[in-house]
């Protein structure tokens, strides 16, 4: 009973993540994989993503400090980052990565740096939102997974 408002809250949180463009359909694909055997699958993947991508972000930061910029290396790193981000459905983050790669291809150092800052912001924002979301989901309980709005 007391879950209902929580469920509603969860549902609306989820919806807004999609509506505001933070997440895309890929996230839904992840949700499809939830089942009894893997009730927290989505959260696991997202956690893994943030852990692993932190490393990439760090490498990118370092690479961006070098002068002159090694665009092909930056592009390579970003390609990896983009792959991960798209796997969890991180829409805005992915868009920034694409933009970053464009700048790399055209050798635009300033564009790269600017975009990267923006990317980090989006990345951090999404992380917070998802953390809140999962926290709530956990409170509601595993039963919720079956009822999660699709």
């Amino acid at each position: 009973m007391e879950r209902n408002p929580m469920r509603r809250q969860l549902a609306s949180m989820r919806k807004s993540l999609f509506d505001q463009g933070y997440l895309d359909e890929q996230f839904m694909e992840l949700e499809q994989l939830l089942d009894d055997a893997n009730p927290n699958f989505v959260e696991e993947v997202v956690t893994l993503y943030y852990r692993d991508s932190a490393r990439l972000i760090l490498n990118l930061d370092r690479a961006l400090e070098r002068r002159p910029l090694d665009f092909s290396k930056l592009d390579g790193l970003m390609h990896q980052f983009k792959g991960s981000s798209s796997s969890i459905g991180a829409k805005k983050v992915k868009a920034e990565s694409t933009l970053f790669r464009e700048y790399c291809k055209s050798g635009n150092a300033e564009g790269c740096m600017r975009t990267f800052q923006q990317l980090k912001k989006e990345y951090a924002t999404l992380r917070k939102k998802l953390e809140t979301y999962f926290q709530l989901a956990r409170q509601i309980g595993p039963m919720e997974s079956a009822n999660r709005p699709k």
Binding site: E44, V45, L48, Y49, S53, G83, S84, S87
Partner: protein
């Protein structure tokens, strides 16, 4: 079926339980991929290291049915892994990447991937990947079945193959092979022995493949039956089934080559000397699509431009058979691009397309087909067989003599690369005989695959003169500019004589065709693709055809080349020339060519000639 099957790993319930090996350095993607695959009810093994993956595969080749791998990995390039797997294990490989650039996809194809998926991958896409396993098995079966053994899908394979037929895989499987002859495992061994238990996969090393080709050449492509081949090879622990399946692949390879060769031959047109246009045979790579190559313009350019007179050896990708498999190095098979060959004489190199029998044009005779693999390599373009821009259209077929033994595959002048369309060209209809272009399309004419170089390699051995000192293996044909090996008309088939060579490329005798290997693009099917995979090379450098017109037919004497190259089958077989044929000494043995090519390649292990299977 039999109850007994039920328990086994879901073999019978294929595709349920299909064993997949997933490789991706990104843990997020790997977790996702693994979960998706499990959701499809496959049996999944994941690893983030390509090297670990290879190790696992090498430990037990029968452990997996399919490999899915990311393209960008830190410890090893996905394409390299693809090549290795294709060469050594002949398993279907699916590439995965966040980058869907056409070029990259093409690269995957030319390297032999049987599919290319974009990340993030969806479950629907994974639900159908089992088809690649089935397809491969089926192809293997058909191939082996048709040739020496009339097995119609006997046994096991049938299981899967039957799916198409009755749609009831399980049912069929059960009927077929009671003994859990898991076709997946068998992978070609099935022909003979329906009840065979799982046999360990045989790795066709370069050496082994060479012996194989030698045996085939000795017997004559049309007469080469596994049993005899086995006897000639005299290798312990090799079963007839192993040979049979290998033979099947080899034939396919030849077919493909011949297709390409034909195309090339056409392109080759002018025999000229050096600088013959090389056909680039791109490796069609198994994907089964022949398209290959065609793709890159750059290839063309590359190929051509750098093509030095020396013939370029095309490496024929033999269908799995070529044995290149096993070569760890990327498709090295390339016969090298002869171009470097300083040997003027060598030109011929390459070509060995063998035209299987009947082609009128006897191949090779002198048409050095230089496939420039090297070039390709350098260019990093994958050779495609595809369009060989006949630049010079000098098709050099190393036909004469030395190579001739090798079998120059007749390249029909058909538009090159017919490959894309299908290896048909090569196929056996030797009747087609090249006729086209004088270059006696070696072998290709009928689409017979240009003799695959594997045969060349061994052939080289056989080549008598092997000018190049033939190194036993297909030495990259450094051949010199596409000189065509003399025009010895090589007919693959017995009817050599009949088939007028059409223009056998006249190989100046001075050009020893060192094991010209023609690397015909990998027309090969994915299965076969073993070779081409190499990123670097994939075959085929442009084939240099020595001007076919200039090739004199050995006076119509086919004997020159005689190598009875594989007829129809499109094998490029090097047959030791029975007649003393004229093969000009110059022609170096294909092996030489091959090795030369290989060397040029920078040591590509390629298998130039040697196809390590």
């Amino acid at each position: 079926m039999t109850v007994e099957q039920i328990g086994s790993e879901g073999k019978d319930q294929f595709p349920i339980g299909m064993r997949v090996l997933a490789v991706d350095d990104d843990p997020t993607c790997l977790l996702l991929l693994g979960t998706l695959l499990r959701r499809c009810q496959y049996h999944v093994t994941t690893t983030s290291q390509a090297k670990t993956a290879l190790k696992m595969l090498r430990e037990n080749k029968n452990k997996f049915d399919l490999v899915i791998s990311d393209v960008h990995m830190p410890d090893m390039d996905g394409f390299k892994l693809l090549e290795h797997v294709g060469l050594e294990m002949d398993l279907p490989v699916i590439m995965l990447s966040a980058n869907g650039d056409t070029k990259l996809v093409m690269k995957g194809i030319t390297h032999g991937a049987c599919d290319y998926l974009l990340k993030p991958v969806r479950i629907e896409e994974l639900q159908n990947i089992w088809q690649h396993v089935v397809r491969r098995k089926k192809k293997d079966r058909c191939n082996s079945g048709s040739k020496d053994k009339p097995h119609p899908d006997s046994g096991e394979a049938v299981g899967i193959g039957n799916v198409d037929n009755n749609g009831k895989l399980n049912k069929k499987r059960k009927d077929q092979n009671e003994d859990e002859d898991d076709e997946r495992d068998e992978n070609g061994h099935d022909n003979e022995d329906p009840s065979a238990q799982k046999k360990p996969r045989v790795v066709w090393s370069v050496e082994l493949h060479r012996k194989f080709v030698a045996a085939v050449n000795q017997l004559g492509i049309d007469k080469a039956v596994p049993k005899k081949i086995l006897e000639l090879m005299n290798v312990e622990k090799l079963t007839r089934e192993n040979v049979a399946s290998h033979l099947q692949k080899f034939r396919l390879y030849l077919k493909r080559i011949s297709c390409v060769a034909n195309q090339q031959a056409n392109m080759a047109a002018a025999l000229g000397t050096a600088d013959s246009a090389y056909l680039r045979m791109g490796s069609l790579n198994g994907l089964g699509n022949f398209h290959t190559l065609a793709g890159s313009d750059q290839l063309h350019n590359a190929a051509f431009r750098s093509f030095p007179p020396s013939g370029v050896l095309g490496r024929l990708n033999t269908p799995a058979g070529l044995g290149i498999r096993g070569l760890p190095s990327p498709g090295t098979i390339q016969l090298g691009h002869v171009q470097n060959s300083g040997n003027p004489t060598n030109d011929l190199s390459k070509l060995q397309s063998f035209v299987p029998g009947n082609h009128n044009t006897n191949i090779l005779q002198g048409m050095p087909m230089s496939l420039e693999l090297d070039r390709l390599q350098h260019n990093k373009s994958v050779g495609h067989i595809g369009e060989l821009p006949t630049t010079d259209s000098t098709t050099v077929f190393p036909g004469s003599g030395n190579l001739v033994d090798a079998r120059i595959t007749g390249f029909s002048n058909n538009p090159l690369l017919g490959v894309t369309s299908n290896s048909l060209m090569l196929e056996g209809s030797s009747q087609q005989a090249t006729s086209h272009t004088s270059v006696s399309a070696i072998g290709f004419q009928n689409g017979n695959a240009l003799s695959d170089f594997t045969s060349i390699a061994p052939a080289s051995n056989q080549l008598q003169d092997s000018k190049a000192g033939s190194q036993g293996q297909a030495s990259p044909i450094n051949c010199n500019a596409g000189q065509i090996i003399r025009s010895a008309p090589q007919e693959w088939n017995a009817p050599r004589k009949d088939a007028p060579y059409q223009s056998h490329a006249l190989i100046n005798s001075s050009i020893p065709i060192n094991s010209a290997m023609i690397q015909l693009g990998q027309c090969l099917d994915r299965n076969n693709s073993i070779f081409h995979r190499t990123t670097d090379l994939d075959l085929v450098g442009p084939l240099n055809f020595v001007d076919p017109l200039s090739i004199k037919h050995g006076e119509g004497d086919n004997s020159i080349m005689e190598p009875s190259v594989i007829e129809k089958e499109g094998y490029l077989m090097f047959q030791p020339r029975p007649h003393g044929s004229h093969v000009p000494d110059n022609i170096g043995s294909l092996e030489d060519l091959a090795s030369a090519m290989m060397k040029q390649e920078g040591g590509c292990n390629g298998y130039s000639l040697r196809t390590s299977i």
